[in-house]
C-alpha cells in the first residue's frame, strides 16, 4: 500500500548526483509505520485473531521488516541496518509504553467507580464478603502506622550508616558494609518477612501485630535509605567541611550542622522514595500483620490491616466481583499514594539539590 508508493517515489528520483546517495524521504518511517499498523490490523481482522496483542505484534514485525526491505533497496545495506536498529528501538519504546498505559488506565477506570467518601471512611467490619459495601479505612490506618513505624526505625539507622560510610568509613569494615548494603537491596521481601517471623514471633514469642510487619518493612527500607543518603552526602562540597573545621567546630557538629542540612533535600527525597517502595509491599505484611476486618489503631497489639494485603484478600480470598471492585478501589488509592510520594520527592530533589548535583 503506502509501502509501494514510497518505493516508487524513491526510485523515481533523478539519479546522477554523485556525492549524495539515495535517501528515503523524511516521512518514510512514519508512512511505513502507518502502513504496517493498517496492514497488521487488517491481517488480524481478516484472520479472526481474537487478541489485540497479536494485532500489535504483527504490526510491529511488519514495521521492522518493511522498513528494512525498503531501505535496503533504496539506500544500501549499511543504511538499512541503521534503520533496522532505529525501528527496533522505537518498537521497544512502544512495547514499554503499552503496559504502562494499560495498567494506569485500567486501574483508574476500574477504581474510579469504587472510590468515594464512604469507601475511604469505613472498614469491612460486619460487611458480607459476598456483597457490596465496605471500605478501606482500617487498611489506610494500618498502612500509615506500619509505614510510619518502619520509617522511624529504618531512617535513623540508614542515615547514620550513610554518615559512617561517607564521613568516617575507611578500611575493611566500610567496604564490607558498602557491599552488604548493596546486596541487601536485593533481599526478597518474603525472606525479610520469614526472618522477622522466626525471630520476633517464633523465637521471642510476640504475636501478630502491625509492629512486627513494620520491622520487616524496615529491613527492606534501610539499604535504600543508605544508598540514596550516601550519594547525597558525597555531593556536599569538601570546602564546606574544611571551612567548618578551620573555625574549630568539632567533626560531629560539622556533620550535624553543616553536612546534613546541606544535603537535606536529597536525603528527604531518598527517604520518601523508600517509603513509597515499602508502602506497596505485600508479602511480609501478609505473614506478620495477619489482616483484620475491623479498625485496630494500635500497631503493637493484635492483627491490623494494610492496603496491599487488603487488595490481596479481596482478590484471592473473597474472589467475586464485589471483591474485585474493592480490590481495584484500594489499588487506585495505593497507586495514587505511591505516585504522589514519588512526584513530591522528585520535586523536592529538584528544588533543593546541592550545587554540583544534577
Amino acid at each position: 500500500m503506502s509501502a509501494a508508493t514510497t518505493t516508487v517515489s524513491a526510485d523515481a528520483r533523478p539519479l546522477g548526483r554523485a556525492l549524495t546517495a539515495n535517501r528515503l524521504p523524511k516521512w518514510a518511517p512514519a508512512a511505513v509505520a502507518a502502513g504496517s499498523i493498517a496492514l497488521g490490523c487488517g491481517i488480524g481482522a481478516v484472520g479472526g485473531l481474537a487478541s489485540h496483542l497479536q494485532w500489535g505484534l504483527i504490526s510491529a514485525i511488519l514495521f521492522v521488516a518493511i522498513g528494512y526491505a525498503l531501505s535496503a533497496r533504496v539506500e544500501g545495506r549499511r543504511q538499512a541496518k541503521d534503520r533496522l536498529a532505529t525501528s527496533v528501538v522505537w518498537v521497544a519504546f512502544i512495547l514499554a509504553v503499552v503496559p504502562l498505559v494499560a495498567l494506569t488506565f485500567y486501574t483508574i477506570q476500574q477504581g474510579a467507580d469504587v472510590v468515594n467518601g464512604y469507601f475511604l471512611s469505613h472498614s469491612m467490619k460486619g460487611v458480607l464478603a459476598s456483597g457490596p459495601g465496605g471500605g478501606i479505612y482500617h487498611a489506610l490506618i494500618g498502612t500509615l502506622e506500619q509505614v510510619g513505624l518502619a520509617t522511624a526505625t529504618a531512617a535513623p539507622v540508614g542515615l547514620l550508616t550513610a554518615v559512617y560510610l561517607v564521613e568516617y568509613g575507611r578500611g575493611r569494615l566500610a567496604k564490607t558494609v558498602t557491599f552488604f548494603v548493596d546486596v541487601m537491596t536485593g533481599v526478597p521481601s518474603i525472606v525479610a518477612g520469614l526472618f522477622i517471623l522466626s525471630l520476633w514471633n517464633l523465637a521471642l514469642g510476640f504475636n501478630y501485630s502491625g509492629f512486627s510487619g513494620s520491622l520487616a518493612l524496615a529491613i527492606l527500607m534501610m539499604p535504600v535509605v543508605v544508598r540514596s543518603t550516601e550519594e547525597m552526602l558525597k555531593l556536599v562540597p569538601n570546602e564546606l567541611r574544611e571551612a567548618s573545621y578551620a573555625l574549630g567546630v568539632p567533626k560531629w557538629k560539622t556533620i550535624l550542622r553543616i553536612v546534613l542540612p546541606t544535603a537535606i533535600g536529597g536525603i528527604t527525597t531518598g527517604v520518601m522514595l523508600s517509603v513509597a517502595r515499602i508502602t506497596g509491599e505485600t508479602a511480609p505484611v501478609m505473614m506478620l500483620v495477619f489482616g483484620a476486618d475491623y479498625i485496630n489503631s494500635n500497631p503493637f497489639d493484635g492483627p491490623q490491616q494494610s492496603l496491599p494485603m487488603y487488595i490481596w484478600q479481596q482478590y484471592s480470598v473473597v474472589n467475586n466481583d464485589y471483591g474485585y471492585a474493592r480490590a481495584w478501589g484500594a489499588a487506585l488509592v495505593l497507586i495514587a499514594f505511591v505516585m504522589g510520594l514519588n512526584l513530591i520527592a522528585r520535586g523536592i530533589a529538584r528544588w533543593r539539590s546541592p550545587k554540583g548535583g544534577h
Binding site: L53, W90, A96, L103, E167, V177, G186, L202, P308
Partner: protein
C-alpha cells in the same frame, strides 16, 4: 583539633574535651548502625538456617529432588524441585523478554529519542518501577490473563512442535509460567532500563564523535562505541533485574495457578516458584510446615544474594559507572 591557638582561654580546653567525647559518641553511633546492618544480614541467614535444620531433619523425602510439598503430613515429605524449576523458568522467560526491550528503551532514551520526549519518558519508566507488585498482580490476573488467551492458543498452534509451547490441554485459562514470565518482564523492565540508561549516558562523548566522524551510521556508532563500553553495565543491570524476578512473590502468587507438577510445557497451568509457594502455603502451615517454608526461603535468599552480589561486583569493578547503581 591538635593545633588550637596557644593563647586560648582556659574554658576552651574543657569544651574541646567535650567535643572529643561528642565525636567519639557520634562516630560509634554511626559505626554501630553500619555494624547493625551486617548483623541483620547475618541474622537473616542464621535464623533461617536454624529453622531449616529443624525441618530438614524430619524430612522423609529428598529436599532437592522431591516434587510434592507436604511438610505437615504425619510423615513429612517436601522438596524444592518444582519450585526451583518454576522459579528459574519464569525468570528465564522474563529475562529473555525484558533484557532486549530494556536495552532498546535505554538506547531510545539516551541516543534516539528527541530531547522533548526523552526526559519525560525516562521519568515515566521510573514511575513504572514504583507501581506496587500487588497492583501488577491484580492487573495481571484480571487484565493480562484474559488477553493472553489468543496468544497462547496461537503459540500452541504454530509452535506446538517445539514441545515447550505445546499445550497438553487446550482451552485452559493461561495462568501458566509463560504468562508469569511476561508479567515479571514488565515488572523488571524499569530497573534494567534505569541502570543501563545511566551507563549509556556515561559513554565518553569523544568515542561516539570519533565513530561518527569516521562515517559510521548511528547504529554502527552504537555497536562500536556505546555497547562495548556499556557491556558490563548491561550485564549487572540484567542481574539486578534477575534478582527481582527470582524473588517476586505476590504478583506470581496472584497469577499462577500452581500445582506440584514439573513440566516443560510452559503453556500448561501449574508449577510454582519459591516465593509464591511461601506466600500461598504460609497461612495454613503448621509448625513443621513453617520451618520447611523457611528452608525454601533460605535457598531463595542464598540465590538472590549470589546474583545481586555478582551484579554489584561487576559494577564496582568499573569506576566509570559511579552513580549508575540504582
Amino acid at each position: 583539633m591538635t593545633s588550637s591557638p596557644p593563647a586560648a582561654p582556659r574554658g576552651r580546653v574543657g569544651r574541646q574535651r567535650d567535643s572529643r567525647v561528642g565525636d567519639k559518641i557520634f562516630m560509634n553511633l554511626a559505626r554501630g548502625s553500619g555494624i547493625l546492618l551486617l548483623v541483620v544480614m547475618a541474622a537473616i541467614a542464621g535464623f533461617l538456617a536454624w529453622r531449616s535444620g529443624l525441618a530438614l531433619s524430619k524430612n522423609d523425602g529428598h529436599f532437592l529432588t522431591t516434587f510434592e510439598w507436604a511438610p505437615d503430613a504425619p510423615k513429612p515429605v517436601f522438596g524444592i524441585a518444582v519450585l526451583a524449576f518454576g522459579t528459574i523458568v519464569s525468570a528465564i522467560i522474563a529475562m529473555a523478554i525484558a533484557v532486549p526491550v530494556a536495552i532498546g528503551i535505554a538506547l531510545f532514551i539516551s541516543h534516539y529519542a528527541p530531547r522533548k520526549i526523552a526526559q519525560p519518558f525516562a521519568y515515566l519508566v521510573d514511575l513504572l518501577a514504583a507501581v506496587p507488585s500487588i497492583v501488577y498482580g491484580l492487573w495481571g490476573a484480571l487484565f493480562l490473563v484474559p488477553h493472553m488467551d489468543g496468544l497462547t492458543s496461537w503459540l500452541n498452534q504454530y509452535l506446538g512442535w517445539t514441545y515447550i509451547f505445546d499445550q497438553t490441554k487446550t482451552g485452559t485459562v493461561p495462568r501458566n509460567l509463560f504468562t508469569v514470565g511476561i508479567l515479571l518482564a514488565i515488572m523488571i523492565l524499569p530497573i534494567i532500563t534505569a541502570v543501563s540508561r545511566e551507563v549509556f549516558r556515561q559513554v565518553p562523548r569523544m568515542h561516539e564523535e570519533a565513530a561518527l566522524a569516521l562515517g559510521a551510521t548511528r547504529w554502527e556508532m552504537i555497536r562500536t562505541a556505546v555497547l562495548p563500553f556499556g557491556r558490563p553495565g548491561i550485564i549487572s543491570a540484567s542481574m539486578l533485574g534477575l534478582g527481582r524476578a527470582l524473588g517476586e512473590t505476590i504478583a506470581v502468587a496472584v497469577v499462577l495457578s500452581s500445582n506440584s507438577v514439573l513440566s516443560l510445557h510452559i503453556l500448561d497451568p501449574g508449577g510454582g516458584t519459591f516465593a509464591q509457594n511461601i506466600a500461598l502455603k504460609f497461612a495454613e502451615a503448621g509448625n513443621n510446615g513453617r520451618n520447611a517454608l523457611m528452608a525454601s526461603g533460605l535457598v531463595l535468599f542464598v540465590i538472590t544474594l549470589l546474583v545481586n552480589g555478582a551484579a554489584r561486583l561487576i559494577v564496582a569493578r568499573r569506576k566509570e559507572y559511579s552513580g549508575a547503581a540504582a
